[in-house]
Amino acid sequence: MAILEVKDLTLRFGGLEVIDTLSFDVEEGGIVSLIGPNGAGKTSVFNCLTGFYRANAGDIRFRNESIMSLKPHKITARGMARTFQNLRLFKQMTVIENVKSGMHCRTREGALGALLRSAGQRREEAEIERVAEECLAFVGILEHKDRLARNLPYGDQRRVEWARALATRPKLLLFDEPAAGLNYDEKERLIDLIRRIREELSITIFLIEHDMGLVMKVSEKVVVIDYGKKIAEGGCAEVQSNPKVIEAYLGKEDEDGN
């Protein structure tokens, strides 16, 4: 069963079609990758899915419900979380405060509770703290929780973002180039983490990635786009041998070198 269905999605900037009648599904419990050369429109697809761009035509159904006209925060509340291609941490805040942001849509206490410090509010704060720590432990950086996020090494900052996304308790997690800037060891741990997220937390994963090695290692299905159009879809081996993909990617793989 598909957790996410995209049908004939079209997005135009000015006269330019950034996404052109794109259709694909993401199966529940799967790990699916979206690949394509630079400028193929991958991040635009993510932005449409998460509500940051309003698509011009088509339909996006998440858990059997259209989310085309929803605002980003509503989509997150429905169980779709994302990370950003360039780190988008809350730089003036500590690691754990960053992760606590994910719990916002799962909690409800407002100004009055805070002012009176009601029992419900204190209980909820404790719960937020617990979940945030749990998520940090899951990605393995709990010991840094009270440091300022911007003072962490790059690889750890990435992990803060993952923990933050996990704290929204998603059903579907969108990773936008999670391996960018990571070294070999960190990539290996990322692969492990992606698998553990799926196995232990039963979260479906949809990722954009340039690193073909990583994509081929973890994905069960790959969707390939170029100039906003889908050019191939299927298993790793199937896609790799597709002539259209080779043509679109030729030279690109050499550059990446791994």
Partner: protein, 304 residues
């Protein structure tokens, strides 16, 4: 006066008022375009420009007289002096803060404003200075409408300054550098553009234009005082945002439009003088809500 007379006269009024707004708005807009600073002190620069012009004229009057010759000379002197003042302020107060949080530099601008305002207040003991010139009320009469030669000359001078500015921005290497810096300052640094020099030049031009407006206002209205920059600063700021801040033709359009709105707002009996400011600010808010980047600003991709 019949309706036609009133409308024609108010159009003439709005041209004058709009010219002053536009000249001051240009300075706001240029500075904002290049370093994203709302230069709160700009209204006070206009005021200082008027005082420099006043001083220059009182010194020159013995040699050049108080007619157009003396006025033009003091106008140019004031533009140059005020331009350098703008550069000095930029160099001392704003440049050290280019990479600081935006609000700090905004507060600095307020500090500069207080400084200029209070210095002139202390120097003039808070008194109004009569800006006396040899210009009379003579002009062209069309029935009930009277347009003085002074008004005509001022509007023409404003137009001339704007044409010169447009040519400068579009045709010269410095103008191109200004536009490039407003798009991406870091890239310009990498390309070997002397960013500091171009920023200084922007302040020079912006301040000189404000000084021109200040001197012209002094000549036209016949009196200057230390807080003359406050209201026009506020209005010009509004005009700059109105047209799309950071966009040169936008500032001109914004100034003229705001002038027109105010003139006709004053005339309409259901608005009147008491409510005209509510009217112009209200309209500004509406425009920003529906067209958030101003009249001539580029629209960005629709976001939800």
């Amino acid at each position: 006066m019949d309706l036609f007379d009133i409308v024609t006269q108010q159009i003439a009024n709005s041209l004058i008022l709009g010219s002053f707004y536009a000249l001051v708005a240009l300075g706001y807009s240029m500075v904002y375009g290049i370093i994203k600073l709302l230069n709160f002190a700009h209204g006070d620069i206009y005021m200082v420009g008027a005082f420099i012009g006043f001083t220059a004229l009182s010194l020159l009057v013995g040699f050049l007289g108080d007619g157009w010759l003396g006025i033009s000379a003091s106008l140019i002197l004031s533009m140059i002096a005020t331009g350098f003042l703008g550069v000095g302020i930029q160099r001392l107060a704003y440049r050290p803060l280019l990479s600081a949080p935006r609000l700090s530099i905004l507060i600095t601008a307020m500090g500069v404003s207080l400084l200029l305002f209070n210095t002139v207040m202390a120097a003039t003991i808070g008194e109004y200075k009569a800006f006396e010139t040899g210009l009379g009320f003579e002009g062209l009469d069309f029935g009930n409408i009277h347009i003085s030669y002074t008004q005509i000359v001022l509007v023409l001078a404003t137009a001339l300054l704007m044409v010169a500015l447009t040519l400068f921005i579009n045709k010269t290497i410095y103008g191109k550098a200004m536009r490039a810096i407003s798009i991406d300052m870091d890239a310009c640094r990498l390309m070997g553009i002397d960013v500091n020099k171009v920023i200084a030049l922007t302040f020079f031009v912006g301040s000189a234009l404000a000084a021109a407006a200040g001197v012209m206002a002094g000549v036209y209205y016949g009196s200057i005082h230390f807080f003359m920059g406050f209201i026009i600063g506020l209005k010009a700021f509004t005009a700059a945002v109105f047209g799309g801040i950071g966009i040169i033709p936008g500032a001109m359009l914004g100034g003229l439009l705001l002038g027109t709105l105010e003139s006709f707002g004053t005339q309409l009996s259901w608005i009147g003088t008491e409510w005209k400011d509510v009217f112009s600010f209200g309209l500004l808010i509406l425009i920003l809500v529906f067209k958030p980047n101003g009249l001539m600003g580029r629209t960005e991709i629709e976001r939800m």
